[in-house]
Structure formats: structure tokens, C-alpha cells
């Protein structure tokens, strides 16, 4: 019926269809739908291959391994290298390496259909939150207990603690392959030329800021997508200052965790630097690689907190003779619970084997190849970044000062190595970026920053639909 009680006329019909078009245009709604929920029956992937020392997982000859690799900063050529190793060692096995840039979007339908790949490099901005799929992953203890291609038990070849970031509620399910050292990066040549030393506390940073200002340079800078690199540094500093108790409060989303004194001290130290005008303004509107180039190429600011990937990421935009070098994140006081040398280091590029995959044994064999000497050295050499396998980087760091300093930092840290998971585990980074951008640009203060971060934490803590991981 039309509005004036006329029967449904042609025009009203056309109007209706326009409304339907309006509905159809809200594609976001339809995007939620699936292509059909597949059966939940697990394809019991019985490996028919003979289990032996050279084939510890019993990969079937003639089978195919379906590997989906994140094609990001590290590319996929190192994975293809490992694939060739598998094919050379296990006759008749084919490894199919598929690159992807959006892991979650690409693989979501395959998980729903019960047909996931055999091994996945779950990395990048579009990674699958481990919390959502951790029940569907194979435990990887047998991988690190197996012997590598050189005959050594893999567990004995790895850096200490590299299994921690991949262990959830006692189950080791994510093999993080690339070793990442978080540090405060600087140009060794510039520091030498100016006679500066690396600051070990926030007070030293403040006074270095004054010196840099005298030379027309800023102390720090940031880009809008990477504002939380400062959060990473702040948490690292606070854990060194206050010890494990700080880390556990954050990991377990404790009420008031952001108000702990060590965290507040770090925030106040940063705030002093921001208020003194030592942070290059405009970061909240700058794309992060552009901001990083202001440091590595234009040398407009002199310190940058980041992970060890920074050298590879800025390779084409680094001034020649820059001598990129890392130093441990600063502490607050001289009587911190952990020494300044303690290091925030974790492993990235999380490799997983879905337990519903057709060739679980093949997926594990692929990991075994990656953890063997040749593939690990190949990765270190071509990516200028260490894997979790020890002893693959020579003293000259393949000519890279950044890689040299990473190995040096790892050695001097000894067993004082820590990391945390809660930010990525609960997908908090997007929300935290907002708070950090306004803090770094000087628009908010320590109280607002603390409240903002606590609200984000509390929201996750109170949401019953989110599974929590207890950390101790």
C-alpha cells in the first residue's frame, strides 16, 4: 500500500527497490556471512609414513604439504628455501608454498570448513588472533624434541625462553621463528661524532634531549601507526624496574595494573621529555615509515624504540654510514630489580600447525627443516635477522651493525630475558594506539594515559566472551 492508501503503484515499487539497493549496499553486513558452515568432523590425518629418526613425524611419501606464508618484511623466499630442504630430505614429498598478506581474511573460510593448511606463518597486521584458534592447533613439543637435519635435538639448538611466547596455558602451540630484540636504536656514527653516550635512564634521556636540541635535533619521534612502540619501551622499562610482578599484573589484566609505581615512573619520565619539547611534533599525522625515515635518513631525531626488524624495514631509507645500533631500553633508577642489560626479546613470525590439516606430519616436517642449520643460516644471512636457532650469525653480523649489536645485547643479557603477550593476545593494539598518539603529541597527561590504558584492559578483563590466558 502506498502512503495515500493507493495500491502499491509502480513508483512505490521503485522506491522499495531503491531501499533494497540501500540494504544491498551495506555490504559489511553480508561480509559477515560465510560460504556455509562446513562439517566439524576432523579428518583424521593418519600418517601412513614410517616413523624413523630421519622421518620423526612419519610424513607419507607422495604427500603434499600445504604451507601458507605471510608475505611481509621477510618475504617468502626463506620459506621456499626450507621447502626445498624438505623435498630433498623426504623423497616424494611436495611442499606447496602460498604467499598471503592477509592471513586472517584468507584463511578464515578454510578454518570454518575444517580444511586449513598444514602449516601457517601467522604474522603481520592481519594475523589470526591466537586466542580464537588455539583449540584447533597441534602441540609442537615433538618438533623441538626431534633431531634436526644435522642430528642434534632441536631443543638444544635454540635460544633460551623462545618457547614462552608460543605457550598458552601450558601448551606449546606456536613456533615463533624470528628472534626479535626490542631496543632503543641510534646511529653509532652520529653519536660518536657528537660525543654523545647512550642514555641508560629516563633522566639521562632528558639531558641528552637538551644536547640534541642544541644541535637542532629532536630526541625522539613517532609515526601514527607505531605510537605503541613507546608503550613497548615503557612496559620493558617498567618490568626492568619493578620485576616480574609488573609483567604478571599486566599479563593477567589486573585491576589498576597501569597505576603500579614502576609504570607510573616511566610514564612520568616520558612526559618530562614530551613537555620539554624533545619529541618531534606531528607524529600523530605521519605515516610510520615516513617518521622512521626522519630518523634513519634525515637524522631529525636521534633515538627510536623499535624491534630488530627496523634495519631490514628501513634498508632503502637509511643514510649511508649510519651504523644502526641498538641499546637496551632505559631503566628508571640505578636500583632497578633487573639490570639495564636485561632485554625484552621475543620471537616473532608465529608458525602454527592446525590439528585439522590434512598433513599434520608434513607441517611439522616443514618446521623441522626451518629449524635445521642450513635454513636458519640462510634466514639470518638474507634477512639480517637471527632466528631462534643459536650460532647462525658470525661475529661480523654479515656486515650489519644492527645484527652485531643484537647478538651482543643477547649475550650480555644472559638469562635476564623477558617478554609479554597480552597486547597481541587480546588484540588491544588498535585501541592503545589512540591513547598513545595523544600522549606523545602532548595533548594528554599521565593521568589520562593511565586511565585510557586501564579502560582498555578492564574492557577485556570484564568481557566473559573472551577466553583469558593465565600467566604465572
Amino acid at each position: 500500500m502506498g502512503i495515500y492508501g493507493k495500491p502499491l503503484g509502480r513508483r512505490d515499487f521503485l522506491r522499495g527497490s531503491l531501499a533494497a539497493a540501500a540494504l544491498a549496499a551495506t555490504g559489511s553486513l553480508a561480509a559477515c556471512a560465510t560460504s556455509g558452515t562446513g562439517s566439524s568432523t576432523t579428518s583424521s590425518s593418519a600418517p601412513a609414513g614410517q616413523v624413523s629418526d630421519t622421518n620423526p613425524f612419519g610424513v607419507q611419501s607422495g604427500s603434499t604439504v600445504d604451507a601458507v606464508i605471510f608475505n611481509g618484511g621477510y618475504g617468502i623466499d626463506y620459506a621456499e628455501f626450507a621447502a626445498k630442504q624438505v623435498q630433498a630430505k623426504q623423497s616424494g614429498v611436495t611442499v606447496k608454498v602460498t604467499p598471503t598478506t592477509k592471513v586472517a581474511q584468507t584463511l578464515q573460510p578454510r578454518f570454518v570448513a575444517g580444511n586449513p593448511p598444514d602449516v601457517i606463518d601467522n604474522s603481520g597486521a592481519g594475523l589470526i588472533g591466537i586466542n580464537t584458534i588455539r583449540d584447533q592447533l597441534a602441540e609442537l613439543n615433538d618438533v623441538i624434541e626431534a633431531k634436526n637435519y644435522e642430528g642434534t635435538v632441536i631443543k638444544d639448538t635454540l635460544y633460551p625462553g623462545v618457547m614462552n611466547p608460543g605457550t598458552f596455558d601450558g601448551k606449546f602451540i606456536v613456533l615463533n621463528y624470528a628472534l626479535t630484540v626490542y631496543a632503543l636504536w641510534y646511529s653509532a656514527s652520529l653519536f660518536e661524532q657528537m660525543g654523545w653516550t647512550v642514555p641508560k635512564t629516563y633522566d639521562e634521556m632528558l639531558s641528552l634531549g637538551a644536547e640534541a636540541k642544541g644541535k637542532g635535533k629532536y630526541l625522539l619521534g613517532w609515526g601514527k601507526e607505531a605510537a605503541t612502540y613507546y608503550q613497548t619501551m615503557a612496559i620493558g622499562s617498567a618490568i626492568k624496574e619493578g620485576g616480574d610482578e609488573v609483567r604478571l599484573a599486566l599479563e593477567n589484566l589486573k585491576p589498576g595494573c597501569w597505576s603500579l609505581p614502576p609504570i607510573q615512573d616511566v610514564f612520568n619520565g616520558l612526559k618530562k621529555i614530551i613537555d620539554a619539547g624533545y619529541v618531534k611534533p606531528g607524529g600523530s599525522g605521519t605515516q610510520f615509515t615516513a617518521a622512521q625515515a626522519q630518523w634513519s635518513n634525515a637524522e631529525q631525531f636521534i633515538l627510536y624504540p623499535s624491534g630488530g626488524w627496523i634495519e631490514n624495514e628501513m634498508k632503502s631509507q637509511t643514510k649511508s654510514g649510519f651504523k644502526m645500533t641498538g641499546a637496551p631500553e632505559p631503566v628508571v633508577s640505578s636500583n632497578s630489580k633487573m639490570p639495564w642489560e636485561a632485554l625484552h626479546s621475543t620471537a616473532g613470525e608465529g608458525y602454527i600447525v592446525p590439528s585439522q590439516g590434512k598433513n599434520v606430519a608434513g607441517g611439522k616436517e616443514f618446521m623441522r627443516a626451518m629449524l635445521s642449520h642450513d635454513a636458519a643460516v640462510n634466514f639470518a644471512k638474507t634477512k639480517l635477522s637471527s632466528t631462534i636457532v643459536k650460532g647462525t650469525v658470525p661475529a661480523d653480523g654479515f656486515g650489519s651493525t644492527a645484527l652485531q649489536s643484537q647478538i651482543k645485547m643477547l649475550e650480555s643479557a644472559g638469562s635476564n630475558i623477558f617478554s609479554w603477550n597480552f597486547v597481541d593476545l587480546y588484540g588491544m593494539n588498535t585501541d592503545q594506539l589512540v591513547v598513545w598518539n595523544s600522549f606523545l603529541s602532548g595533548d594528554s597527561d599521565v593521568a589520562k594515559l593511565t586511565k585510557g590504558l586501564q579502560d582498555i584492559t578492564d574492557k577485556v578483563a570484564k568481557d566473559d566472551s573472551i577466553k583469558k590466558v593465565q600467566v604465572s
Partner: protein, 339 residues
């Protein structure tokens, strides 16, 4: 009525002459279900409807169902949890902020874009010299082509171009502003300051769309007989009066359609935001529902909750379309031209 229409379509060929058509008789019905008729139904009715149901209706129904579950998006299994996703939604301050941002955009973007588009369309078609025939400004065909350029560039590219222009330290905008002596804009983060971000983003969307709607209005105005404008001019109507009293009422339907399309775009805006403000902007001032939905689904792994957001977005979009119809009715929809 049905028989008349269908008879008009097919019986001219198939029905034999001479009073054999008896309504309701089995024979008549059988005779009319010719191959022509069945294939016609099939091609023009059944297949499209089947496609529509399979690819439009069923995903909608599915999404609406998922919004009542706790589905993570990566399992075949899910639990039915009733309306609790919706309850959560209305206390979720981030999502409510995104709704607010979208509503603001759905108000500002259509009004500004269409006003500008109408202004330019009038100039190009009837705003020229008041002597001689009704015509546009000199070189109007040149302006028409140039103004369409931004629309030819894909939205994502527009976003990327403007994110470079807005760059605080090396961007074109601050470069120009500081060069002419406005030193307060040194390193000013247009996209990173809560006061400017949303306006900067809306400007980009408007910039990208004015040309298209201008061309749409030009086509509509060209469909109005020139005598109407001539008569108005003889009666002494100026350019503004002509636009308000003649042009807009005569192309009312086009304006309404334009309002709906651009409003839907403003309620979505995902592509522009993905390029300009992927993180939701300073204090989430540019966060849109579609972005929050995407984050919730893919980075937080809460597809059920994300589907609830999708349902709310769809309802808001429909409500917007309904509002546009209503406003059109209130402001003289009765005297609609062509009804």
C-alpha cells in the same frame, strides 16, 4: 489485469482466433503456458530471484543469525547467546562513538557535496550569460570534464594521495601554509589532531565525490526543457531564484537518489578511512562502524559480535534512506513532477 497483460504479451501469437478463450478452463491455462512464457518467467523472474536469495538474502539472514551467537569466526561451532551481543553493543563506548561519527558524516557529507554539486551544475548548464539562449558559463564543457577527474581515481588512491598532502612535515598543505607565513602550521598534524581530523577526512570524501554528483545533476538539468528556464528569466528570476524555484523542484527525484547513495557511502566510508585513518584517528574521532566491525571480526576474533554491529549498521542505513524519503514527502513530495 494479469490476463490482459499476459495476453498482450503472448496470446497474440499463441491463442487461435475465435472465442476459444474461456477463463478458468484447464485448456486455456495449458495453452497459455507456452515455451515463450515459461522461458520468460524463468529468465526474468525465477533466475534473478534465485540469485538474489542465494547471494543477497541468505547472507543477510545468516549474518543476522550469527549476531545472536558467540561465533569466533574460525570454528564451525558456535553457541546461541540470544541478544547479549546487542546488549554489549549499546554499552560499548567505542562502537557508540563510531556510530556518532558516522551519523555526523551522513549529515555533513551529503549536504555539502550535493550543495556544491548543484552549484557547479547550475553554473555549467544554466548559469551563463543572461543574453540569448539559456546556456552555461563559457568553457563549461572543460569544467565538466575536469571536475569529473577525482571520481575517476579510485577511492583508495584518493585516500593515499591526501594522506601525503596532509603529512605534517613533508606534506603539500603545510608546505603551502608555512610558505605564506602561517608558521603555526609547522608540523601541524591535520589527521592527528582531534580538532581537525574528522573535517580533514570529510573534505577528502567531498572532494572526491562532487564531480560525480555534478555530472549527475547536469544530466538531470539537461532533461528539463530550456523553455522553462527562459520563461523564468522573462519573469525576472535571477540565477539563485531559478536554481531554488525551478531547477531543484524539477530534478527532485535525482536529488533524492543522490542523497541516498552518498548517505550510504558516508555511513560506510571504510575505504577512505583505511587509507587516511587506519587506526580510527586521534581519540577515535574518525572511527567508523565498518572499521570497528572489521577489527572486531578479524583482529579480535569476535565474528558474532561483529555481525551484530553489521546488523545495526544495516538498520541505520535503512533508517537513513527512510528519513530521506520522509523529508522529501514533507517538503512538497505531493507535487512531485512526473507522478
Amino acid at each position: 489485469m494479469t490476463t490482459l497483460t499476459s495476453g498482450g504479451l503472448t496470446s497474440g501469437v499463441s491463442a487461435p482466433p475465435g472465442g476459444l478463450r474461456r477463463f478458468g478452463s484447464a485448456r486455456w491455462r495449458r495453452r497459455n503456458l507456452t515455451f515463450d512464457k515459461i522461458s520468460f518467467f524463468l529468465v526474468f523472474l525465477i533466475i534473478p530471484v534465485a540469485f538474489y536469495i542465494a547471494f543477497v538474502v541468505s547472507p543477510f539472514v545468516q549474518a543476522a543469525y550469527f549476531s545472536l551467537t558467540d561465533w569466533t569466526g574460525f570454528t564451525p561451532a558456535m553457541n546461541f547467546i540470544g541478544l547479549s551481543n546487542y546488549a554489549k553493543l549499546f554499552t560499548d563506548s567505542t562502537f557508540l562513538q563510531a556510530v556518532g561519527n558516522n551519523v555526523l558524516m551522513a549529515i555533513v557529507v551529503p549536504l555539502v557535496t550535493l550543495a556544491l554539486a548543484m552549484f557547479f551544475a547550475t553554473l555549467v548548464t544554466v548559469g551563463g550569460s543572461t543574453r540569448g539562449n539559456v546556456k552555461g558559463l563559457r568553457n563549461s564543457s572543460f569544467y565538466r570534464v575536469v571536475s569529473f577527474f577525482p571520481y575517476v581515481v579510485p577511492a583508495i588512491v584518493i585516500g593515499l594521495i591526501w594522506s601525503q598532502i596532509y603529512d605534517p612535515n613533508s606534506g603539500l598543505l603545510n608546505g603551502i601554509l608555512t610558505r605564506i607565513g602561517l608558521e603555526q602550521f609547522t608540523s601541524f598534524p591535520w589527521l592527528g589532531d582531534a580538532r581537525t581530523a574528522r573535517w580533514a577526512v570529510m573534505f577528502v570524501i567531498i572532494w572526491g565525490l562532487v564531480g560525480f554528483y555534478m555530472v549527475l545533476f547536469i544530466a538531470a538539468i539537461k532533461g528539463v526543457p530550456a523553455e522553462v528556464f527562459e520563461a523564468a528569466r522573462i519573469d525576472g528570476a535571477g540565477r539563485f531564484r531559478t536554481a531554488v524555484s525551478i531547477t531543484i523542484p524539477l530534478i527532485r527525484e535525482n536529488v533524492q537518489t543522490a542523497f541516498i547513495y552518498i548517505g550510504i557511502l558516508a555511513l560506510d566510508a571504510f575505504v577512505y578511512m583505511a587509507a587516511l585513518e587506519p587506526g580510527g584517528g586521534p581519540n577515535n574521532t574518525t572511527l567508523v562502524m565498518a572499521q570497528e566491525l572489521f577489527n572486531t571480526a578479524f583482529t579480535k576474533g569476535q565474528f558474532g559480535y561483529a555481525c551484530a554491529m553489521g546488523v545495526v549498521l544495516a538498520i541505520i542505513t535503512l533508517a537513513y534512506a527512510g528519513l530521506v524519503f520522509l523529508v522529501n514527502r514533507i517538503f512538497g513530495g505531493k507535487s512531485e513532477v512526473g507522478e
